[in-house]
């Protein structure tokens, strides 16, 4: 690999942008981003508000919820591969479904299920982290603001929409930022659990790039995928920064 002697212009970029599997990978990555934003984060916020304050044994629960975050993605992936085993005598999830008289499924083997199955694993691993951010954010809201609102006769829902949520805006923004960037980069969990399969149904940007760069050694093609990934991440980061700059004046 010397200097770029045979510069191919935008040939590689053009090739990937018309490749169906690449477009599928982009779609899947965006699906994971969307699911994280609209399912995982609201769930984390909900749990944080529910348990963040006034619950006995809070520290203990925080320890439990945060535990998967410290386990590596490799361990997480192998662990969930066992749980997802299609045989009810081996995979716990199908065993539970069978015991309840429900249909068992090949969670990682069916094209329309695999992405959701992976998303469940991502939620298991990362929801505690987002809860932690929200709980910290909630603790930073001054008590007297809420007490003043209560004296003014605010009900619970008003309290949430007009007091808690706006004061938590900074924390939510941060967790959105981290979640989007993290979701775009998901690699180890997908690669170990499915290698992007079956038939590319769980292919994401990073697994696609890895396959072309390091399994097939088409470095130029892999680099083109990396450039697209970088552009997506940069567009998001710049949009985020300008959004933060604009709203910070308001809050």
């Amino acid at each position: 690999m010397g200097p770029a002697e045979d510069f191919t212009g935008f040939e590689n970029i053009k090739n990937i942008l018309t490749n169906n599997i690449f477009l599928k990978a982009v779609g899947n990555s965006f699906t994971i981003v969307a699911l994280s934003l609209f399912v995982q984060l609201p769930l984390g916020l909900f749990l944080a508000i529910l348990f963040g304050r006034g619950l006995r044994g809070r520290a203990f629960f925080r320890t439990i919820f945060f535990l998967p975050y410290v386990l590596s993605e490799a361990i997480t992936a192998v662990l969930w591969r066992i749980l997802y085993n299609p045989e009810p005598s081996r995979g716990f999830i199908n065993a539970v479904l069978q015991a309840m008289g429900l249909e068992t499924k090949a969670w990682l083997g069916e094209t329309n299920l695999v992405l959701i199955s992976i998303f469940v694993v991502l939620t298991w691993k990362y929801i505690g982290f987002h809860m932690l951010l929200y709980i910290t954010g909630l603790q930073n809201i001054p008590r007297d603001v809420e007490e003043a609102a209560l004296i003014d006769g605010v009900n619970k829902r008003q309290m949430f929409t007009y007091i808690t949520l706006p004061l938590l805006a900074g924390t939510i923004r941060t967790s959105v930022y981290l979640s989007v960037l993290g979701s775009l980069q998901v690699f180890a969990i997908v690669w170990i659990m499915t290698k992007g399969g079956p038939v590319n149904a769980s292919e994401v940007l990073s697994t696609y790039m890895y396959r072309f760069s390091f399994v097939r050694f088409q470095l130029g093609y892999g680099a083109a995928v990396a450039i697209v990934m970088l552009i997506i991440a940069l567009i998001f980061s710049i949009t985020y920064m300008s959004f933060v700059r604009r709203t910070e004046h308001i809050v």
Binding site: F66, V70, L71, A74, L219
Partner: protein, 284 residues
């Protein structure tokens, strides 16, 4: 009639509390059951795993655990991970504390531009850069060498760590530095003898975060290391799954052993990890 109304009102009042606990228990089960199932599985024989997979392992069978502990490769993985994590963490703390000090305390031309450039690293994670990383490391001949992994993992954590430490350093009043200077302390002396001891909690937070991030890396090691003896624990976990994937009780036992260091570290450093994460993400 009023009696009854009173009773139902009471029920409505405690209903949210009951609901809250039901949700709490459901969430706890979602987190804990997968871990418990794997612990159960790892402490059974292969036969038991397939006949009675979901009951507690009574009596526990240590056969699988012993088998893994006796594999030399397992100890190579542990050693490699400890080496990489120790070296990268030390590198991150040493370099980031110095660069954070410069950005927080010393004025020079182009400082803000340089800091902006530094924070670009926050948007440029190793996953996106893995291909140039591979090419560069190969070019300097550090492929299949733990030093290559250490260098890459150190570098990619510098931005975040510097931002966190700079914030902490900026909170330390400048009067303190002025006072130290008057007492005859130079800049390096101030950094070494006054600032660093004061910043111990934030250094611990950054170090703990670096430990978790380095320990859990898979991709960098996967790309840079082929030699079995140089596998890190995460790389080994992936390969172990590939090699013994059919023997689920053995794989479960491996997971138990592979998770132990991280869990022990978590128990002792939880406070620091948490403060590092919240500082990094809420201020960064």
């Amino acid at each position: 009639m009023p009696e009854k109304a009173k009773k139902s009102k009471k029920f409505i009042e405690i209903l949210p509390v009951i609901l809250k606990y039901i949700i709490l228990i459901a969430a706890l089960l979602f987190i804990l059951v997968p871990i418990v199932i794997i612990i159960f599985g790892g402490l059974k024989t292969r036969g038991e795993f397939y006949t009675i997979p979901y009951v507690p392992p009574i009596p526990p069978r240590w056969g699988n655990i012993v088998r893994i502990v006796k594999m030399p490769i397992f100890w190579y993985m542990m050693r490699n991970s400890v080496l990489v994590t120790g070296a990268a963490t030390a590198g991150v703390v040493i370099i980031a504390s110095m660069s954070a000090f410069v950005f927080a305390r010393i004025n020079f031309k182009g400082k803000s531009l340089m800091f902006q450039f530094f924070t670009l690293g926050l948007m440029f994670p190793a996953t996106v850069a893995i291909l140039p990383i591979f090419l560069i490391v190969r070019q300097i001949g550090l492929q299949n060498n733990l030093i290559g992994v250490i260098l890459v993992l150190t570098t990619f954590q510098l931005s975040m760590s510097t931002v966190i430490l700079r914030n902490f350093f900026m909170e330390i009043p400048s009067e303190l530095q002025d006072a130290a200077m008057i007492d005859g302390c130079n800049t390096i002396g101030f950094f070494w003898k006054i600032l660093l001891p004061l910043a111990k909690p934030s250094l611990a937070a950054v170090a703990s975060l670096a430990v978790v991030n380095t320990w859990n890396d898979l991709l960098v090691a996967l790309v840079l290391i082929d030699k079995e003896k140089l596998w890190t624990l995460q790389l080994g976990t992936m390969q172990f799954q590939g090699q013994y994937g059919q023997d689920l009780s053995l794989v479960s036992a491996f997971l138990i052993l592979a998770a132990i260091p991280a869990v022990i570290f978590y128990i002792f450093a939880q406070r620091h990890i948490v403060s590092g994460l919240t500082a990094g993400s809420l201020k960064g």
